[in-house]
Symmetry: C2
Subunit: 136 residues, 2 copies
């Protein structure tokens, strides 16, 4: 795909950091679904190819959105955790959820989630954030 | 690129409709910058290829985000206009602007725009919407 020049435009910046389809789905898995491991990401219903998954995880780490650390329970495996830069995307993700729920005829967003997204957004964001500790 | 299955997930739906990089930049041009013509889209700094532009405009129309109409001032040319489905993306676009402005060291978002996005969002959304008439 042709490279998009970054020229101070917020959309070019956002697209460069998380605008790739797979990057966004991995961020969804981490931030919204609380997934932490390579295996959990692989198991997502979109069936991301392992080479794409490895590439996008490395890019998300390089761009400061996630950290990779040794799993204290299993030193041979790794845990991925969101950084502030990823948690600050929660409002973008919530707006996308609300928009899709309005227009997608087979939307799977639970009604109660949608109600909170619209009426108690600050609380919902806090609850999602509180699911992560020691964020850097 | 491997097809992402749509399974009721709001992110898959959103990615399918406007998640392509070029589609999002065209929506930016239409909704935020008020561009209306093929020539104006071609002139954007990202230098979209004409075949990609034609393809994405057709997809945005097919997905119900924009309408194409004959220019009343010049019957040989066309005007593109956002539909409600595109205008309802304004909150997503604004959240992306706020996020990029926070993290992009060379962000080009004017401070006053950012202040309004944070403090007077309802008014800003209304002002953007009011720039379009006869939206269907």
């Amino acid at each position: 795909m042709k490279k998009i020049e970054h020229v101070g435009c917020p959309f070019n910046y956002a697209l460069g950091v998380f605008g790739d389809k797979w990057s966004l789905l991995i961020l969804r898995d981490i931030v919204i679904y609380g997934k932490k491991t390579y295996t959990e990401f692989s198991d997502s219903r979109e069936c991301i190819a392992t080479n794409v998954l490895a590439d996008r995880l490395a890019k998300l780490e390089e761009n400061g959105l996630i950290t990779k650390m040794k799993d204290p329970q299993n030193r041979r495996s790794y845990l991925y955790q969101p950084r502030e830069k990823a948690l600050d995307l929660i409002p973008v993700l919530i707006e996308m959820i609300c928009w899709s729920a309005k227009y997608d005829e087979i939307s799977g967003v639970p009604k109660e989630y949608l109600r909170r997204a619209n009426e108690e957004r600050t609380g919902l964001i806090k609850e999602i954030r509180d699911g992560f500790t020691n964020v850097v």
